[in-house]
């Protein structure tokens, strides 16, 4: 069989003569060559790095010439490591809090944003501003802003009687600082997505709701919320993945501390991989991390799209 021989659909070939419809496109295996560039790109950007990680994760490497195959030993030790488990629970809690705050808050902001007039542009600019700031700059801003001595935010909080806010010493304060920073940074994304969806609802829906005597809540619940399902699915997925993999901002603000109060999975991972150069455990850790994000995203997506039917 040469490369140019037409591929026969086994069912059709078994049934009768080849397709002779005028619009039937000729089949040519050389078409596979057209996807070759993508295959090459993906191989070098994703496949090879991933396989390198897999390679690390099943070996104990002492030097380039001295390595031992250890099977799943690294996976076993990583899953039993209390530090990893702690970071996992911490990250999960952080993501849950991020979703619980940012999704409703973003929707509320979108609902409250003006629908027409010059205030629309003004509101859009103000809301979008945090999204335009680079991650590590966000971290730097909050690192200074939240300081009790010279930061406006930290100083202001400390003016409240009985409050002693210091995120470098108190783990709850550090956690709150990172959480508030993430809410400030990413709620606008949810708000903008929701706003776009809300704007696409034709005016008669609101007029009908007025005629039906619907309260503001009923209008939101019955008209606006159903229309938000699609974008909220995307928003939840994006915010889950992003917050579950958060690295730069807590690294800049708290460096994972105090103690390990804000030491999320990504921070721990980079400490193991880059700081200690433990490539075996780091490889196993990375693959598990990757797998968790995939599974949770898949579950979210399936549940959210199914419930709409």
């Amino acid at each position: 069989m040469t490369l140019t021989e037409p591929v026969k659909d086994p069912v059709a070939a078994g049934a009768d003569e080849p397709d002779r419809r005028p619009d039937a496109k000729p089949k040519d295996n050389r078409a596979w060559l057209l996807v070759l560039p993508v295959v090459v790109c993906v191989t070098f950007t994703a496949l090879v790095p991933l396989m390198t990680v897999v390679n690390y994760s099943v070996q104990d490497i002492f030097s380039p010439s001295d390595r031992i195959f250890v099977g799943l030993e690294w996976f076993r030790s990583v899953t039993r490591d209390p530090e990893v488990r702690g970071a996992f629970l911490r990250t999960l809690l952080f993501s849950a809090q991020v979703l619980l705050i940012e999704i409703p808050l973003g929707v509320a902001i979108a609902v409250a944003m003006p629908r027409r007039g010059w205030t629309v542009s003004a509101a859009l600019v103000v809301v979008a501003l945090p999204l335009l700031i680079p991650w590590n700059v966000v971290g730097t801003i909050w690192q200074i802003f939240a300081r009790g001595d010279i930061g406006l935010g930290g100083w202001a909080v400390n003016q409240v009687p009985g409050v002693d806010f210091n995120y470098t010493l108190d783990s709850a304060d550090a956690w709150i600082t990172v959480l508030v920073m993430d809410v400030w940074h990413w709620t606008p994304l949810v708000a903008l997505l929701a706003y776009a969806a809300l704007r696409s609802i034709p005016e008669p829906y609101f007029q009908a709701a007025q005629i039906d005597g619907a309260s503001a809540w009923a209008t939101f619940r019955r008209i606006q919320l159903p229309r938000l399902r699609g974008v909220l699915t995307i928003a939840i997925l994006l915010r889950f993945m992003d917050s579950f993999m958060i690295y730069t901002e807590p690294f800049v603000v708290t460096g994972g501390g105090p103690g390990n109060a804000t030491s999320f999975l990504s921070i721990l991972l980079s400490k193991i991989a880059v700081g200690q150069f433990d490539l075996g455990p780091a490889g196993a850790f990375s693959l598990l991390y990757f797998l968790i994000v995939q599974i949770v995203s898949y579950v979210f997506f399936t549940v959210l799209t199914r419930s709409g039917r």
Partner: protein
């Protein structure tokens, strides 16, 4: 139920520079079926929204019977409104859609159930009550959104804003009959906005023609056709519309292109006029007579059931309707006779008289 009275009601979207609806006084009488007819952008929807309270008019007052409702919000007006496309609470079942306006008004549960079932029986929705509303076809969806309006007690009026736009032509006819039946059974005042004259003429007791935000004529369908009060009505209603020829009145005679077409039926100041006659009332082949004009045939459109003969009457294009298989050939000299009582004179687009035979009065 009560009359809906618009008292000097006008609306401007730009602070009075241009009027979407010019200040008008008009009464929608209780229990009648009205068609609000006019081209796109003539203010039909604005007028409707003023009645339902979605828009507060810039000037004037709105009365429901003896109650002034100008500043009463939509929810307090008991209006049923159907929009151009089905507006449904898509996640809810048909039953919940119909119950929604009642639940918002805190009707007792068994009352809600009773009313929903009554309306669903009337609209033939019994078999679909449990389905999600967005799974229905567009025609049924419009019926459901109509039902949401009808389910309330004391509906003041049913307003329909081009409700059949999204519906298949084949289903339109059925739906229109359903609407007529509902009107007959419930006796609600019905205002039906459309830009389709067939829809308007077959549907309504009374047709109201709107142009540039003003009512130019209102009357029974036949009246609008036979006796247009405004040039626009002549053009807009009828297919093809009314012919209008530029003419002149002097010494009581109406001249078109130098030829005497007939006599004006009343004392009319001399000056230019437009002579309007429908193709149905312009006849060829009866020989010279009055009112009428000499004409030359320029072409014939064979429409199947009838022919449309294009002529130049005293130099101006005119269409006359003739029976199918008419013998007229392009180039033939003919005389076009106008039916007495069906030729009108317009000045500034408004009717100012009619053309009568030279020897005698209008019939």
């Amino acid at each position: 139920m009560a009359d809906i009275r618009l008292e000097d009601v006008g609306h401007s979207y730009d602070g009075g520079r241009t009027w979407a609806v010019r200040p008008m006084t008009w009464t929608w009488r209780s229990g009648r079926a009205y068609a609000l007819l006019g081209p796109s952008g003539c203010g039909k929807t604005t007028l409707l929204n003023i009645m339902s309270g979605l828009i507060t008019p810039t000037t004037g007052r709105v009365w429901f019977g003896e109650r002034e409702v100008t500043s009463v919000p939509t929810a307090g007006r008991n209006i049923a409104q159907v929009f151009q496309f089905p507006v449904l609470y898509e996640e809810m079942s048909v039953y919940d859609n119909l119950a929604f306006p009642l639940r918002n008004r805190r009707y007792p549960k068994d009352e809600v159930d009773r009313r929903v079932r009554a309306v669903s029986r009337m609209l033939g929705l019994d078999a679909h009550l449990g389905r999600r509303s967005r799974r229905l076809d567009p025609g049924r969806q419009q019926i459901v959104s109509l039902g949401r309006g009808l389910v309330r007690s004391d509906v003041a009026a049913v307003l329909l804003d081009e409700p059949l736009t999204v519906v298949d032509p084949a289903v339109r006819w059925t739906l229109r009959s359903t609407l007529k039946e509902i009107h007959r059974d419930t006796g609600h005042t019905l205002v039906y906005v459309t830009h389709d004259q067939t829809e308007a003429l077959t549907f309504a007791d009374e047709v109201v023609v709107l142009k540039d935000g003003a009512i130019v004529q209102a009357g029974e369908p036949a009246e609008l056709f036979l006796s247009p009060a405004h040039e626009f009505v002549g053009h807009f209603i009828g297919s093809p519309g009314m012919n209008t020829l530029p003419g002149e009145v002097a010494d009581g005679l109406v001249r078109v292109g130098g030829q005497v077409a007939g006599r004006a039926d009343g004392p009319l100041p001399p000056g230019p006029v437009r002579v309007g006659v429908r193709p149905e009332f312009a006849r060829l082949g009866d020989g010279p007579g009055s009112p009428g004009l000499p004409a030359e045939v320029t072409g014939v459109d064979r429409m199947g059931a009838y022919d449309l003969v294009h002529v130049r009457a005293a130099g101006h294009p005119l269409v006359a309707r003739a029976e199918a298989g008419s013998p007229y050939e392009p180039g033939a000299a003919e005389f076009v006779r106008f039916a007495v009582g069906r030729v009108f004179l317009f000045r500034d687009a408004v009717r100012c008289g009619q053309v009568v035979p030279l020897n005698g009065r209008a019939g």
